[in-house]
């Protein structure tokens, strides 16, 4: 009976994962404990709408069976607890010929991941032994699958109470070249040139803000799902960088323009100041390589832009 009760709880927690989006949420893990968790993912074509009502074909992960899953850019945020034994079933509904390999850098699968041919399902399992922020993605396709959007964040929550933050937000960085997305099989990657720079799949002004009030400690979980080493500038405060690639740093440090390498993750805690923010929108968090434009830039004497791309604000 105990086993049955545990199993039903597991199912409800699996549903919880669906409810968790990339937006900030408050942790209340004191009663959490390690348990078996099963996650079902479908990799399938979909359409993403970018700023300016631009529709772009993507390949993305969606939760659940392929019949019901909605693939998103990035894929759904997966949340498990430290110690959970996790099984991920991946169904490959990509166009024929696109074999997919599921990978989570920094996580050791119980058995080597096997290629999942289009139209079939594969399974990986692992123990979420170390808390932290991870990137999951589709390997293979010479990077074309990841560039099409097959990636997302995996959060392994610590079971230790009293964490040094009050609220958290996942910041998945990525970019899209619509010309590539329109022809992922034939596009000459030498010509790849991203024109949309995204935080959690959105470009400013469509990016979701990060909510935090003065005095709150915001854990920013950076996940660089893109191809570019990305420097994120933060105005009006410093962030305390505590972990890289899901490993605590021996010597955490403060930064306000931190570079997250492609494929890497980084955790930083920003304590919101009491004073006024630099901008009426809040505390800007933006791509300091100045990828803050949307789409083609073909106007003469480039006209003053109002901001776009990889930009959001932290605000109350």
């Amino acid at each position: 009976m105990r086993a049955l009760a545990a199993r039903s709880m597991r199912k409800s927690r699996a549903l919880l994962i669906v409810a968790v989006t990339a937006a900030a949420f408050t942790l209340a893990n004191s009663s959490a404990s390690a348990a078996p968790v099963t996650i079902t993912l479908c990799a399938k074509p979909a359409t993403a709408t970018l700023t300016g009502a631009v529709s772009v074909p993507i390949w993305g992960f969606g939760l659940g069976s392929c019949a019901t899953a909605t693939a998103s850019l990035p894929g759904p945020q997966l949340v498990v607890n430290e110690g959970d034994t996790v099984t991920v079933n991946i169904t490959n509904a990509l166009p024929a010929g696109h074999t997919l390999t599921f990978e989570i850098p920094g996580v050791t699968f119980n058995a080597s991941a096997t290629d999942v041919a289009a139209g079939s399902t594969g399974t990986v399992s692992f123990t979420a032994s170390a808390p932290g922020t991870y990137l999951y993605q589709a390997g293979g396709g010479e990077g074309r699958q990841a560039a099409m959007g097959l990636g997302g964040a995996l959060i392994v929550n610590s079971l230790t109470g009293g964490q040094a933050y009050d609220t958290q937000a996942t910041v998945v960085l990525g970019a899209v070249d619509p010309n590539f997305n329109a022809a992922p099989d034939t596009f000459d990657m030498y010509s790849y040139r991203a024109t949309y720079w995204l935080i959690n799949g959105k470009a400013y002004p469509d990016t979701a803000g990060i909510t935090a009030t003065a005095g709150q400690r915001v854990l920013l979980r950076y996940v660089n799902a893109g191809f570019d080493n990305t420097s994120m500038a933060l105005l009006g405060l410093h962030e305390h960088v505590v972990a890289r690639d899901a490993h605590l740093l021996n010597n955490p440090f403060d930064a306000n323009a931190e570079t997250i390498p492609a494929g890497a993750t980084e955790d930083a805690i920003a304590t919101m100041p009491a004073g006024a923010a630099p901008s009426t929108h809040g505390f800007p968090l933006y791509n300091r390589q100045l990828h803050v434009t949307n789409g083609d830039q073909t106007a003469p004497n480039p006209v003053p832009a109002t901001g776009g791309g990889m930009l959001t604000f932290i605000h109350p």
Binding site: H238, T259, L290
Partner: protein, 672 residues
Amino acid sequence: MTHKMWRLGTVLALTASSLLAVAVPGSALPPGAPKVGMVCTPGTVNGSTHTFNLETKTGYIETPDGNSVFMWSYDDPTVDAGHFQSPGPVLCATQGQTITVNLTNHLTEATSLVFPGQQGITASGGAADGLLAREAAAASGTVSYTFTAASPGTYLYESGSDVAKQVEMGLYGALIIRPSAANTAYGDVATQFDPSREYLMLLADMDPFLHHAVETGTTYDFNSRDNRYFTINGRSFPDTIQDNGSGLLPNQPYGALVRIRPTNSTASTLPALIRMVNAGVDNHPFHPHGNHTTQIAQDGRQLTSPGGAPAFTEHFGETIGAGATEDFLLRWDDTDHWDPGTNPLPVPPPNYRDVTFKDANTWYSGSPYLGYKGTLPAGTTTQNICGEWYFPWHSHALNEFTNFDEGFGGMGTLLRVDPPGGCFTTAFSTAIVGGVLKSGSVSALAVGGTDTNYYQVNPRTTTRPTATTAAQPSITVASAAGFPTSGNYYIRIDNEVMQVTAGQGTTTWAVSRGLLGTSAATHAAGATITALANDWYGSFSGVKAGSTNLKVIYQGKNCGNTTGAACTAISTNLPQQTVKICNWTVPGAAGCNTAASPGWVTLPAPPSQPQDVGSTDVSSTWTPTGLASQYIGTGTYNGQVKVLIHTQRWTAPSPTAFSTWGNLLALTYDAP
């Protein structure tokens, strides 16, 4: 010491350095700016408020490949009449001050300032709230920003409006906040540095096609950005190694040459501080040759372990992210004690056939040895002043070490390690103007300092062909050669000391008899006359105009004998030594070719002169009064320095003859 044996570093040498004075109109520098190292724009301090005025303007910079690039930048209208400069002025303030920056916008679109790393910025005035900050309207709009300089460190300031264009166009500069603790970067003693060796490296990158599009109002696709020029402090290599305020680069006032002397861990010498700011849009992997640099801070925050101890890291390559700042300490400990004579660097000089010698653009130093200049073919001009050693510092993204894809260029500069103590040079010739050479040559005065080689000068002697009576007021001598030609001086015949008061330079002297405790007496024909003083000078050459911090070193002793190879000890009645330097600007100095030239000026204390010097070697160092340029010859005497050693021994009651033994005669100086 960790050093890189990259011979190119020694073969590389300075291009013709600008010798123009700094802070003249047109230099875009505040008065008193140093030629090398970080230049702060002073601003105005009123109580605890530090105010800076900035204005946005357009102008042009020059690139080493002959291009000029249209830029937007900041300048301070109160410095050099608001001369256009790129990058913006270096704003320096002290922790705890209230900083106010008043911005006047002369661009054709609105702009604003953001101060990454600063908290609680309030804006006043301005036209409207922009995306990231309050904006000043186009065409002379104004806005002011105020914040507290809360934390010491190296920061960036830059445009917060239409950043993809405006920052790329050049709207950036460095903000330095110094702690109240003197000579530290972050207040912690672990961040102590030598304040005379503080350097800023503001990195940036440019796509000239954007600049052209903005200048001409044509199209540009930001998604096709392809940076072709890479700068440090607004200049590309080799312009980076020119002085601050070089007249060759009127709109790019900040040089990036890093210049140090070897540090010494046992002598408590302090490291240099390198403040790095990446104002560009690319992440730049910066690679210092010569030694590891020690990173002490990022984004204006000291690197500290959870326990509070410094968590510094050593780097020979460090990527500085776009918008980030990093601070480094640099030591160059000469733990191997390189010495050109006894412990030369194991670097073979290139064969002359492999290097190009022509005119004044030779790019080979003449020697890879720190502190020693090797031999070059006659007529060859070397750009290496005194055996200093150069290491390249550059972006290791080697496409950035170019000017529009032509290398070397771009994001590069040089680390110049001067010899210990500065440039060191020894006399190349000597001339005796009151005495006679006993033994030794000028080489005995060179190198080594304390050694066993001496340049020995005896007092001059001559004879009286005829007998001398006790009352005789005038004497005729066989020869006056080697005796002073002017001034009263003492001579001795037998045991009588007399003073020559007239007729100097001729063979008939008026003499004052029976001096210094002796009595007038008769002397037989053929008696020997001995001078009681030695005068000689050493000549130096090749001291570059514009050298500073000139010091004179003389080490020697005096011996009681004038014959024999061993020094006879003197323990009483020590000879008195006076060291003089030729001031070429004194009227009538005429090359200081005689002991009596009015150009000879006594070197000022310390140590005071005359100085008693007996038969134990005494080493003394003097600093000439005033500008070093007075003592460095020009025209016929170009690059010459002369130092005269006068020694006399006539004090009662033992005015006996002696010899002067010189061991070292040298100069140290900072070459330009």
